[in-house]
Symmetry: C2
Subunit: 246 residues, 2 copies
């Protein structure tokens, strides 16, 4: 059961304003909640159906499940259909920016705006064992429900650091690659870690201010006529090439 | 200006039922409408702002622009914000399935459900010069506004053929690859066109019925912990590898 007050509170977390004010976010659906139960995130509350509860491994530490009817879950979820549950989770306070150590690829996002793209890039980072993303201040919010959902659970293993990109890149002291049209063919790269990789925004690519700080412009070879690729797809293709070579 | 009746008609095309009944679909926003004006699609009507109209090249054949206020465009658009326009366009009647000729990659989609993923795959096909997609009957509709929008104009150069996949693949008479977890590493493939490539659905991968018809299972090598990749991202990585090798 969920009270009127709880319902109002969870619904308020659909909005960034209240997520930031309360320092909470929502994890929705079976896959996401099972991942969060298995992570080091602090869970405030889980509203779920009896049916979902039965899928939770019995040795899970969290016990205080709040069993609800499907209609109740639906009313507090951002999903079109959700018959599993909604978890209210504490945002992690990230106070320090991790140092770029050897053997690291520094993945930098310059104004990615689409939540689905950011979520897909987080999932990709997790696939390639990259634990940290460095995002411009105008990149979409990590805790946006659409971002969380499209990570397919990878948000539990990848952190996003929001910062002023120009001074960050300037201080990196490693070569920085950037995805452009008309750069060096990624099939013929010869790379040595550590290095930085900048992915630009969906509509404008890498901003002029950041372009000045790029050491090597790289490009995915094109056969046909499309003007560009989706930002997350381009990130995936570049990462596959990077991990083929080093 | 747009009449009440026209408004109701365009809004009805937000729904698949009416798109199918009338054989029409919507193209929205600056990029999409400029691409459609430059294609062989038949345009029934374009509702647009004065501001958009000024961006149309003067030698464009289509002339009957219906100039509207921004609020009028917003009222008929599926976009959250649209200050350019909405075009009503005739669906193409696809009556024959193109033959698989030499030098061709037959890209096959087994139940892709997310419109953003289908749109992104159409954009990818266009990037790699693949003009035809072969889709299971349960793949999301090509003319869904979210599909059209996420192709970024590539829907004008790529056709989707909806068919029963099993007999189609069975009759292909070329080797068929399929994306799986635990298949052959795509970095070590040796390929010779023509061949087929099957991409499975977001939640269930390639269906058991189609799996039986796959000659070679292929896999994108993984470094980290994510269980899987987004379907469109996986398609992009595989296509980049295919076009590197042949």
């Amino acid at each position: 059961m969920i009270s009127k007050q709880q319902q109002k509170y969870v619904q308020s977390l659909h909005n960034k304003k209240y997520r930031t004010e309360y320092g909470k976010f929502l994890v929705e659906g079976e896959k996401g909640i099972l991942e969060i139960l298995n992570s080091d995130f602090e869970i405030e509350n889980i509203f779920c159906t009896e049916n979902f509860k039965e899928k939770v491994p019995t040795d899970t530490k969290f016990k205080a499940f709040n069993i609800c009817k499907e209609e109740e879950i639906q009313a507090i979820s951002t999903f079109k259909t959700n018959n599993s549950g909604v978890a209210v989770v504490n945002q992690k306070k990230i106070t320090t920016t991790p140092k770029v150590t050897e053997n690291q690829i520094v993945l930098i996002l310059d104004d990615i705006k689409d939540p689905g793209n950011l979520g897909t890039i987080i999932r990709l980072a997790d696939w390639y064992g990259i634990n940290d993303l460095y995002c411009s201040q105008n990149t979409v919010e990590f805790y946006n429900p659409k971002v969380i959902n499209s990570t397919m659970g990878s948000f539990t293993r990848v952190s996003a650091h929001y910062l002023d990109l120009a001074p960050f890149i300037d201080g990196l002291k490693v070569p920085v690659l950037g995805a452009f049209l008309g750069g060096q063919n990624i099939h013929h790269l010869s790379l040595k870690k550590p290095f930085g990789l900048v992915i630009g925004s969906e509509s404008h690519g890498i901003s002029p201010e950041i372009e000045k700080l790029i050491d090597t412009k790289i490009t995915i070879p094109r056969v046909g006529l499309a003007e560009s690729l989706n930002a997350a797809v381009a990130t995936g293709i570049i990462l596959d090439n990077i991990f083929r070579d080093i």
